[in-house]
């Protein structure tokens, strides 16, 4: 294992350990009022934004264009380890990007889907006198993703496939507040992959050699922040717009990057999303 990778593995487990230590301490200090929270929150969002694609397997140029996204998110307290006050988040994202090169003479089309499962542990819950609540959660997660970039002009190297799985570290800061008597939720989430395994073709290997001729040995690489410095950031505001109905407005800054086998890739996305939130109340310990 490379030294750089060992350092990042250490940092990851250090962050997990740090969250555990702090939690045990704060449980005595913070009064948890589970009734201030809905049990299950689901949100389906649609969005559009800018895409910046670069994959040196396809081209030395980057491509800029538009990204269309669908996101389905679910959050609720876990039924297991209830004493630890864990919250699980399931997040599905699907993206389609259509981007042109600088000369506008060629196009990349990209498809990407990913599914994340994150287990948050509450570090801090603070209730303010005006009824507002601030919550900080940190936790590990798992992610599986798949997709491809298709370059319309290339011959034997038209496609760059993106498939992989990662162990994640995530932090979430949520602020519940009231305007009048209406509850709002302002939330920030940042998630980064720490350790993973990704499909990684060799520098000049063709897909013909890999899949038609069967030279498929050693096509995966272990990833860590040194070769996969990626970060997903999500800012959202939940706005009650009608009786029982909540609208979620989000801004997402999604940076996916890899540098594997001297093949460099990035997908930088800034997107705005709108979605409908569905909340279901469930009695504790049910």
């Amino acid at each position: 294992m490379e030294l750089k990778m060992k350092v990042w593995v250490g940092v990851f487990f250090l962050s997990i350990g740090l969250s555990s230590v702090d939690l045990h301490a704060q449980e005595k200090l913070v009064v948890e009022d589970s009734l201030t929270w809905r049990d299950i929150t689901r949100c389906t969002s649609f969005g559009i934004g800018s895409a910046n694609l670069y994959d040196s397997y396809l081209s030395p140029q980057d491509y800029t264009g538009t990204e269309y996204s669908l996101q389905r998110e679910s959050q609720h307290p876990t039924r297991f380890l209830s004493a630890w006050k864990l919250t699980q988040q399931t997040l599905f994202q699907g993206h389609f990007s259509y981007a042109d090169n600088r000369s506008e003479k060629n196009t990349d089309m990209a498809f990407h889907a990913q599914l994340e499962y994150i287990l948050y542990r509450t570090l801090l819950t603070t209730h303010f006198r005006n009824g507002n609540t601030l919550m900080l959660q940190v936790g590990p997660g798992l992610q599986g993703q798949g997709g491809m970039i298709y370059n319309l002009a290339n011959g034997n190297n038209p496609v760059a496939v993106k498939v992989g799985g990662d162990l994640l570290a995530s932090v979430q800061l949520a602020y519940h507040f009231y305007v009048g008597k209406k509850p709002f939720l302002l939330r920030y989430q940042a998630t980064a992959p720490f350790i993973g395994v990704h499909f990684a073709p060799h520098y000049g290997a063709s897909y013909y050699e890999m899949f038609s001729l069967g030279n498929d040995e050693d096509l995966t690489r272990v990833t860590y922040p040194g070769n996969q410095p990626s970060l997903y950031q999500h800012f959202s505001l939940d706005i009650p717009v009608w009786r029982g109905g909540t609208l979620r407005a989000s801004y997402i800054w999604d940076v996916k990057q890899t540098d594997l086998n001297e093949l460099r890739y990035h997908s930088w996305s800034n997107r705005f999303m709108l979605g409908f939130v569905h909340q279901f109340y469930r009695k504790p310990n049910r």
Partner: protein
Amino acid sequence: MIMSIFRSIPLLFGLFFLVLLTSCIDEEDFQNSPTANFEALWKIVDEQYCFLDYKGIDWDSVHTVYSAKITDKMDRYALFDTLSNMLSTLKDGHVNLYSTHDMARYWSWYEDYPTNFYEDLQRTYLGTDYRIASGLKYTILRTDSIGYLYCGSFSDGFSDDNISEALYYMRNCRGLILDVRSNSGGVLTYATRLAEHFTVETLPVGYIQHKTGKGHSDFSEPYAVNLDPSKGIHWLRPVVLLTNRKCFSATNWFVNCMQQLPQVITVGDRTGGGSGLPFSSELPNGWYVRFSASPMLNPKKEQLELGIDPNVRIDIPIPEAFATKRDAMIDYADSVLLKLTKD
């Protein structure tokens, strides 16, 4: 304790942002000027072209020579011509530069040699009532009961059924003339598909390599490529394979595969070569470049880039052939097959 928790927040956030800010993966930023386009093209070839060492090309010297000819005041036509000349030093039919006004190419691999294939002469043998199965033209040379199958391209697909139908039609023939002259290639899968109908056992036919890095000699270990039997009909009787200089790329590989088969004799001219699987890339101004990226080798791990010699070397005599309307290669193949099958 709350304070200690708060103190951990910057650490956690810091880790996330540190990851991103210290490790931005971005492309090399070339401006769209003649100099930048020249440098981008030179770099693509330097890092990805696979025959620099094999052909003994000093690419740094090429940079020295051609960078002196590039100025930011030159127009796009002059730039294109200069870049084309630079690429021609690679002497590779798989290397092209594409713009909206021209396509740079190196075609000396067949332009400098006898054509050795004329449709007017071929018509003497095909006649007018030959069959066509997805581009495969075939007939029986009725006087000798020898089959004749012409495959002029591997760009347009044909199926195992197409090949089987052609071979079934010639099922009573003693031998087969398989003509791939002036087939300048196409899809390797189709070339392999045709060759697979001439074996009933898996045979090693060569190797493929790929670049593992940007260095001129950064290559993977050769990976063995086998020829597996196809579905459908297999032809195990004698075959004479006709080749000329315009047999290039996928056809060059097809000829290599066929040469590994015991019942096949190759007749005609040396093939044109082109054994590097081509990749594509582009310049900042939107011009595309195609280049050899992944070499394919014969079973002795020898390069096939410069062509494959036939077992029997024959040229079509010009202009005598037009007077007699006889194709010397087909006639020779016919006589060889008759000798081989007379018993």
